[in-house]
Amino acid sequence: MADALTQLGFASWLSVLIASIIKVTLILVGGSVGMMFLTWYERRAISYMQDRRGPNRVGPQGLLQPISEAIKTMTKEDATPREADRIVHFLAPVVMLGATVLSFAVIPWGRMFPVDLNAAVLFVIATGGLHSIGMMMAGWGSNNKFALLGGMRGVAQLISYEIPQVMAIIPVVLMTGSMSLQKIVEAQNDFGGLGWFVFSPVGLLGFALFFTASLAEGERTPFDIPEADSEIIAGYMTEYSGMKFAVFYLSNYMSNLAVCFITATLYLGGGNGPGVDALGGFAGGLLSLIYFLLKSFALFFIMVLIRATVPRLRVDQLMGFAWKFLLPLVLVNILSASFWVALLRWDQQWPQLTEWFGAPSTADATNWGRLAIAVVLTLLINAGAVALIMRLTNRNVQKHLYTTDEELALGLS
């Protein structure tokens, strides 16, 4: 965009500035307006899943409902508890929203990349990690025990689930050889735009693990313990009202949306799809944007579906799930990803190995024999690991569900 402006006759620094301002405005406005209608979408979808209609009075099909809600929150009283730490209480939603908006900077919109960082993948995770600071500030600054409990729970959850989330990305980085989202999207463009990572055994498991861990990072059901309303009111948001509450709400929805975008980019090929390369140019870019948004909103629909079907986990179950289920599977997935890379791409990744073992017959992934071996091998490893760990977890759960009479009598178990 900056180049086009320079051609129009602006000075180079001015065109860079204008281009950046346009991009930032688009992201900010698109993000917040998109989020408003995302709430409408979620409420309608979950209503139909629960056999009711949802908001349908304001505007056609209730489409103007978010606007009326926005006006409502803006005119509400903005109350701060008297004994609260005023500055921290005020800054908490700002930190939350700031961190979320930052993560939108690196998201590739189809073939358009606002910023192409070398460490874009890590950047997204790091901005997600900043959420925990905002949560802690909100919990502590409110001077309310429910808020503090909710904040502590939320932070413990975020920190625990960050580990499987980061490690679920490692297979993708291994297969691509880069942490830039642009390179990751390019690497999934084989087979006429359908070479998405999710179609390989490694990518499938990685996708499932990453999406699950991201649900917890975005505090979606079944992992919405920080705001478990039946236990701790609204968690760290208890003492927030009016616009500050709306800012929390906004940042939550925007981070959920960012999770969908990132998952679509990492595993579902981003803007790749049949016909994008054939069209090329502006039309191809538009098609890739449509593909990208379709994939992301399909993922968001899955989130809503999960919210409508899965009950909330208990705190100890939540931690056990992260450390005893997700983490081992993620480690196994890294192992099978390295087998995958070793079988398919070793000549590209490690040229030194080519010197020792000689070059493979063809370098690309369409070497069907090697591809078949890699698929079977990684499928066996991953399926075996999933079966084993699920069995172990089940046994553990059953051991904790039932208590024998002797254990009851002793009060021990």
């Binding site: 995770i125 009851l408 009598a409 021990l412």
Partner: protein, 220 residues
Amino acid sequence: MNPIAIGVFIVIALLTLGSGIMVVTVRNIIHSALWLIASFIGVAALYLLMEAEFLAVVQILVYAGAVSILVLFAIMLTRQVTGEGVRVVFERWWVALLIALGLFGVIVPTLWQHGSTWEEASKLAQVGPAPVEGTAAAGLQVATATEIGRSFMGEYLLPFEVISILLLMALIGAIVIAYEERTRRRRVLTLAEELALKKRGIVEPRDAEGAVVALDSEQA
């Protein structure tokens, strides 16, 4: 470096230093931890200014996102968080000053030594062409993930492994400290289970635990 970069550097450095000073002078411990986060982020911004994207992101991920949260958790587990009675300056402040000066005395000569290569690199950057590989100027560009990974797995393999073992030992130590013996640990009974116990007229679970503790103390 061009003047804009120098200006940005001065602003970020002042902000980082300022929040660093706030860390040690603020009376509220939580506030000082929050200022610490601010200074971490300032350091990340400095890395970004040096075009070390990977380092900057890792700085935010590890320090601002994890270490500072651990600090906050630890503070919240202590009794006195705020309070006017908290003393900021202790009697042995001069020991801390000596240590800080010593560290400064190590860092400055090191930087001084590398100063010439730094200038060389910035001159090369101003002239235009990328620094030739193998020269000192190229050695300064250890910013990318690939370079860092190579140096971890190559040149600095031994320190890297030693630190890993150190962290592992710390992990095991934490588990040892936090570990309770399985026999002594009692699951919190649900209301239904407690009712079932009462119905059968069996001893209260609290008494059972008390008995276990008493037995232990007798043995010891």
